[in-house]
């Protein structure tokens, strides 16, 4: 029992190295994110960090850690066809982080320009994280690349959140919620599109 297309497959049986265990990719994605955040701190300082009190950071940090871990783990799992994952943990972490922002907020007047400035400042770091994620996760199972890109987008959005929160000392509630809370979704979309485009270009090469 044979089929003509088998000859076609046999003509291309170059050796391949199997994927590493999922935890190694999750760890790699987390490390890339933390390195980008460390780079952000190195370049821009930690004015925002010092503007928040201990309770606000006690709420923000577990939320961000959960989002970072949840999205890294999901991306790593979705590299293979059988891995199971959801983004519930990452989204729950994001909600906790938003709670921290709400707690830290003070009354004041919202400035769209300052929010846009935050967006511009963090965007290069988000892009670096997205490209780093793609490089790490580039050998994903093709039909699942959309999910992998989604998780990488969430991971990069979290990095944008961290970078801007550590840098920006503004505590006005509108700025914190709109500028720091909602912008990660834009960054996430930007990163998702970058990773998706990279997969698409790779499949055409």
């Amino acid at each position: 029992m044979s089929a003509p297309f088998l000859d076609q497959l046999k003509a291309d049986t170059r050796p391949v190295s199997p994927l590493r265990p999922a935890w190694q990719y999750a760890l790699g994605a987390s490390l890339i994110s933390l390195l980008v955040v460390a780079l952000g701190i190195r370049i821009m300082g930690t004015k925002g960090w010092y503007s928040l009190d201990t309770i606000a950071w006690a709420l923000l940090l577990p939320g961000l850690a959960l989002t970072l871990f949840g999205s890294s783990w999901a991306a790593a799992q979705w590299m293979g066809p059988t891995g199971r994952a959801t983004l519930h943990m990452a989204l729950a972490g994001y909600a906790v982080g938003l709670g921290g922002l709400f707690y830290a907020g003070e009354s004041g007047s919202f400035s769209p320009w300052l929010a846009f400035k935050c967006f511009l400042i963090a965007t290069p770091f988000v892009t670096v994280t997205a490209l780093g994620s793609f490089f790490l996760l580039r050998r994903s199972f093709g039909p699942r690349s959309n999910s992998t890109a989604l998780a990488a987008g969430l991971l990069s959005g979290t990095v944008g959140f961290l970078v801007i929160q550590i840098l920006c000392p503004i505590k006005e509630l509108g700025h914190l919620l709109a500028g720091h809370g909602i912008l990660p979704f834009f960054w996430g979309f930007l990163a998702y599109s970058t990773v998706k485009l990279s997969y698409s270009l790779k499949s055409r090469l």
Binding site: S2, K10, T13, P15, V16, S17, P18, T82, R84, P143
Partner: protein, 171 residues
């Protein structure tokens, strides 16, 4: 002395290592299983095309199989993706609504397995095929379908209830 049994996983390791001859035993063992799954899922007309597409996907994605995991759940997962793409491409599921079939008196129902399975939602049908036709364990079905053991049990339970309703009228 009895020779050690060569498993599908052994062939797959050789295939990943670049040995073209490993493809033949894999094809002989796996293709009939794929045909069973696609046939029972109601895609009998495009069976050969689906099997071929699955093999191309297996070939392209062979690096995503980790030698520490069982091979068949990995194969079934790929077949699921191929089938999903097939649905998207053709948009002709051809499933008869359960409610329509339930309006037919039980005596007029055909108890053909293929027809009965087509009454079930895709996810329940898939679980039943893997468990009852392919003889996979609940754990293997969970791995192959990307869900949990609890979810597989629930889907199987609901599938049995629906089949009972169709056959005997008791939900």
């Amino acid at each position: 002395m009895e020779a050690a049994k060569v498993t599908l996983e052994d062939h797959m390791r050789r295939y990943q290592g670049g040995d073209p001859s490993a493809l033949d035993p894999l094809y002989r063992d796996i293709s009939p299983r794929l045909k069973t799954i696609f046939r029972q899922s109601g895609q009998a007309s495009d069976l050969d095309e689906l099997v071929q597409e699955t093999w191309f996907q297996i070939h392209r994605s062979r690096h995503t199989w980790r030698p520490t995991e069982a091979l068949l759940p990995w194969i079934y997962s790929i077949a699921r993706h191929v089938r999903a793409n097939y649905y998207r491409r053709t948009s002709r599921r051809g499933e008869v609504e359960l409610s329509e079939r339930l309006s037919v008196p039980p005596t007029e129902l055909s108890y053909d397995w293929e027809q009965l399975l087509n009454e079930l939602p895709e996810s329940q049908k898939e679980v039943l095929i893997l468990m009852k036709v392919e003889g996979r364990s609940i754990e293997e079905v969970a791995a192959a379908t990307g869900t949990t053991v609890g979810s597989v049990k629930q889907k199987a339970h609901r599938a049995y209830a629906k089949l009972r309703a169709i056959l005997g009228g008791n939900p």
